[in-house]
């Protein structure tokens, strides 16, 4: 897409110049995209040549581009160019993997971020409160980016339009007990590494004068999706999953087998 635009802009600035584009496939998906490429070819007379470039070398201060025109029976093409532009692929940012891991959002094998559901939740991620817009999700053009960004922004607005956040009914809770323990959580934070949603936070239990007594886990109710992985990991059984609590499932098993 950007190649057609480059060629077009170049022709607008330098009227007597020639622009050639070697291509194999033009994936002109989306509204008005194919028309855009046709316009570059027909109105701005950019020369599109279907074929690969085999060689680029310098001769008398010019760059000689050797290629084949496969639509004209693999005819050899030689162009004396002043400048050669390599149209590279759109790839994800090198730091995207690290960012995705930090945010606990999923990403595909090309390191583009994945949406929670391609049809039903196209701008949300698996982590509550994190939305996607633009080329971080896949290479896209400006209209697509703007529409996705608008969708993401409206999702954020919907989140803020209410005074209270709706959370999942089934979420995990770390218990709180009377002092001096405050919680039976031992603070090993195994749950923190196990949680797919980054929903486990560290809470410092302090005395009245602000001295930290101990650090225990706390589940962020807005982020927890209720998978219960932390519950099975907890050695001291200090986390429980509402709706699937240890007591409830145990009672169920007891009843089934009695």
């Amino acid at each position: 897409m950007y190649t057609a635009k480059h060629a077009m802009l170049y022709k607008h600035k330098v009227h007597d110049a020639e622009a050639y584009v070697f291509y194999m496939d033009i994936r002109a998906g989306g509204k008005g995209y194919d028309e855009f490429v046709r316009r570059a070819i027909e109105e701005d007379s950019v020369n599109y040549i279907r074929g690969r470039v085999s060689r680029v070398y310098e001769r008398n201060g010019k760059l000689i581009v050797h290629g084949a025109d496969t639509l004209l029976g693999a005819q050899q093409v030689e162009i004396e160019a002043d400048m050669v532009v390599l149209a590279t692929a759109g790839i994800s940012n090198p730091g995207s993997e690290e960012l995705a891991q930090k945010l606990h959002i999923s990403y595909d094998k090309y390191r583009f971020f994945s949406e929670a559901h391609p049809k039903l939740r196209p701008v949300e991620t698996n982590t509550g409160g994190i939305f996607l817009a633009g080329a971080c999700q896949s290479p896209k053009d400006i209209p697509d980016t703007v529409s996705q960004a608008s969708a993401a922004a409206s999702k954020v607005l919907a989140l803020f339009s209410r005074d209270e956040l709706t959370r999942e009914p089934v979420i995990a809770v770390v218990n709180r007990t009377a002092p001096p323990l405050f919680s039976t959580c031992a603070g090993c934070f195994m749950c923190e590494t196990a949680c797919p949603y980054h929903a486990i936070e560290r809470e410092e239990i302090k005395t009245r004068d602000g001295k930290v007594i101990r650090s225990v886990a706390r589940v962020n109710p807005g982020l927890c999706q209720g998978c219960g992985t932390c519950v099975a990991f907890c050695k001291s059984k200090s986390i429980d999953l509402q709706g699937y609590s240890n007591e409830q499932v145990y009672a169920e098993v007891l009843e089934l087998l009695s």
């Binding site: 323990l181 039976t184 031992a186 090993c188 195994m190 749950c191 590494t193 050695k235 240890n246 007591e247």
Partner: protein, 266 residues
């Protein structure tokens, strides 16, 4: 030992630490843990081949914490334990001075990286009788193993000395004290004992540094250390996870790899 006495004297005199956790002369020719609080008592410390107990278990005891900053005499397994405790957020870095001892060598370790380097270069070696026990059990058939553990665990009367001796059993409330639901049956019948030892092994999988303190502590003489050693062996062979060598390693059980084995899953 001379060097150890000298070092402890220095640490206490300079006020760098207020207490040193170490081994002392016990009754019946055994060693026992001692807590040295004045330089004059430094000579009470001993270090020889009777000193097996993992002293790291005392680090977080409130009584010790109250005394001030501590130094600890640690054999290689205890050093690994301390590293593991740091990785599990039970000990902040630099909170304790570790006097790592092995044979005639003494090293003072204060920061995380030196602890890691020491732990990595000093493997925990099993005494020959433990190696033999491991091999003997491995040679048994499934039915014989069942028989073996049933007979051994029958002796358990759930005193939880194994739990008290283990520095990595640090939960304020243990799963056995959880009674809603009663995960581990209270009486020491075969089922309850099985549940307790299975839980202990599962909890220590990928965490047990194989110090053997639980076996030493068991008054019934059950080789319970073998269970946690086996759990850690599984974590090592299946997940390539070695406990107690990295201060910021994630735990073996709460992490995963895409290529974890699943041949047993249909």
């Amino acid at each position: 030992m001379q060097a150890l006495h000298q070092k402890v004297k220095e640490l206490l005199e300079s006020g760098k630490v207020q207490v040193v956790i170490g081994y002392g002369e016990g009754s019946g020719g055994k060693s026992r843990p001692v807590f040295i609080r004045s330089a004059a008592d430094a000579a009470k410390l001993v270090w020889d081949d009777r000193c097996h107990q993992n002293l790291a278990v005392y680090i977080n005891k409130p009584e010790i914490k109250k005394m001030g900053k501590a130094a600890i005499v640690a054999h290689p397994a205890a050093v690994r334990t301390i590293v593991q405790m740091i990785a599990e957020h039970q000990l902040s870095s630099g909170a304790i001075i570790v006097l790592a001892v092995e044979n005639d060598t003494l090293e003072e370790l204060t920061d995380n990286s030196s602890l890691e380097v020491y732990a990595q270069s000093h493997p925990v070696l099993f005494p020959p009788f433990v190696v033999k026990e491991i091999e003997d059990i491995a040679a048994l058939s499934a039915a014989e193993r069942f028989e073996f553990w049933q007979n051994e665990l029958e002796k358990c009367f759930k005193c939880y000395a194994c739990r008290a001796a283990c520095p990595l059993c640090y939960c304020e409330r243990c799963i056995v004290e959880c009674n809603q639901p009663q995960w581990v049956s209270v009486p020491s019948h075969a089922q309850g004992n099985f549940e307790w030892h299975m839980n202990r092994a599962m909890h220590l999988a990928g965490r047990c540094v194989s110090c053997g303190s639980c076996t030493i502590a068991c008054p019934a003489g059950i080789p319970i250390g073998l269970l946690t050693i086996e759990a850690s062996r599984i974590a090592r062979t299946e997940f390539g996870f070695e406990p107690g060598i990295s201060c910021d390693a994630s735990s073996a059980m709460s992490s995963f790899r895409n290529e974890d084995k699943e041949t047993f899953i249909q």
